[in-house]
Symmetry: C2
Subunit: 195 residues, 2 copies
């Protein structure tokens, strides 16, 4: 047993606790409060287990689960970036890459590299696993926004066309979930929840 390795792993896990303080723009589906990135990450895990049969391409489930576990951890340093805020999105990549260096650098090299590779794969949208993980990462907040009567959309003046464009990622991963997403968007628009 390598004592230094175990110390760095425990330090990393304590640092991870901070993801529970990173608050996203979207609300829980009952609209009661905003969601944090840690609980969001767990909910995605459930969504992949439940909705995996609708992926357009065959995928490796364990890799998607690992990818979704780590997909937001750079926010511990970089904070959450609201996808409908163009100014925030502009600096996002650079901010998150720097955070990834520090966060994954807390672990021993083999583990840090493994985690970083999962995060890079998620970000690049180039594999079936990444495409489906990204689809679910968009679909679930859309469902929550729709269920909370568009609370965060209304607070931020989001339009139906912005939501459609953003949720193109659902389309890239699942035709079935995309049809569902389009229904949500159209209904939200017709009810005035989206501009």
């Amino acid at each position: 047993m390598n004592e230094e390795r175990l110390r760095s792993q425990i330090h990393f896990l304590l640092r991870m606790d901070h993801l529970k303080h990173v608050v996203r723009r979207n609300y829980l589906s009952d609209g009661s409060r905003r969601e944090n990135s840690a609980e969001h990450s767990w909910h995605l895990m459930m969504a992949v287990l439940v909705l995996g049969e609708y992926a357009d391409e065959a995928f490796d489930l364990p890799r998607v689960m690992k990818m979704l576990s780590v997909h937001d951890v750079v926010e511990v340093e970089a904070g959450d970036t609201y996808c409908y805020d163009p100014q925030a999105v502009a600096g996002q990549e650079q901010r998150e890459r720097a955070a990834a260096d520090r966060i994954f650098g807390l672990l021993a090299e083999d583990q840090g590299e493994q985690f970083r590779a999962l995060w890079e794969e998620f970000e690049a949208h180039q594999t079936p696993e990444s495409r489906f993980a990204n689809a679910v990462d968009c679909f679930l907040p859309l469902l929550q926004n729709y269920s909370s009567r568009g609370r965060s959309w209304q607070e931020n003046g989001v339009s139906a066309s912005q939501v459609r464009e953003r949720n193109e990622r659902v389309h890239q991963g699942s035709e079935t979930l995309w049809r569902e997403a389009v229904n949500f968007i159209e209904d939200a628009f017709s009810r005035g929840l989206l501009s």
Copy 2:
């Protein structure tokens, strides 16, 4: 595509959102607020990815990840049971079994049964996967309690021998993590954080 199946899956995922409202007794490691069961479930996923090498027995990682994703979902109906409250623990099994019938019954039979089997396996502590999942499910809150200077231990008058007994589950899954746990408990006792 079976429309009714998709509707029940979406309903289930919205019901799952409620796990973010289920508040546990333990605090985040900085002591700022109590933890909810959804963010706890995500943190366990990270802990298994980071600490998996210390399991005493070989185990199937994907099964542990699935098991930890669903291990607390019955709390959506049954609430969290504080492990150091003997009265609450006495009714826990019956309460959670009834909740499991309702919660997993929201899904189509094949999926509901698959989820229920994972939950039953976790509860039974009979497989290497379940033993390691339970070890991490004890070790991580212990680490958080220790880091928050025993805030929830002190609030609830918990003793070192109670914590030792409860964390026997760590011992059953990992000799290395158990050694670490014993160090935390002894240090917490010597500093008066545990009675």
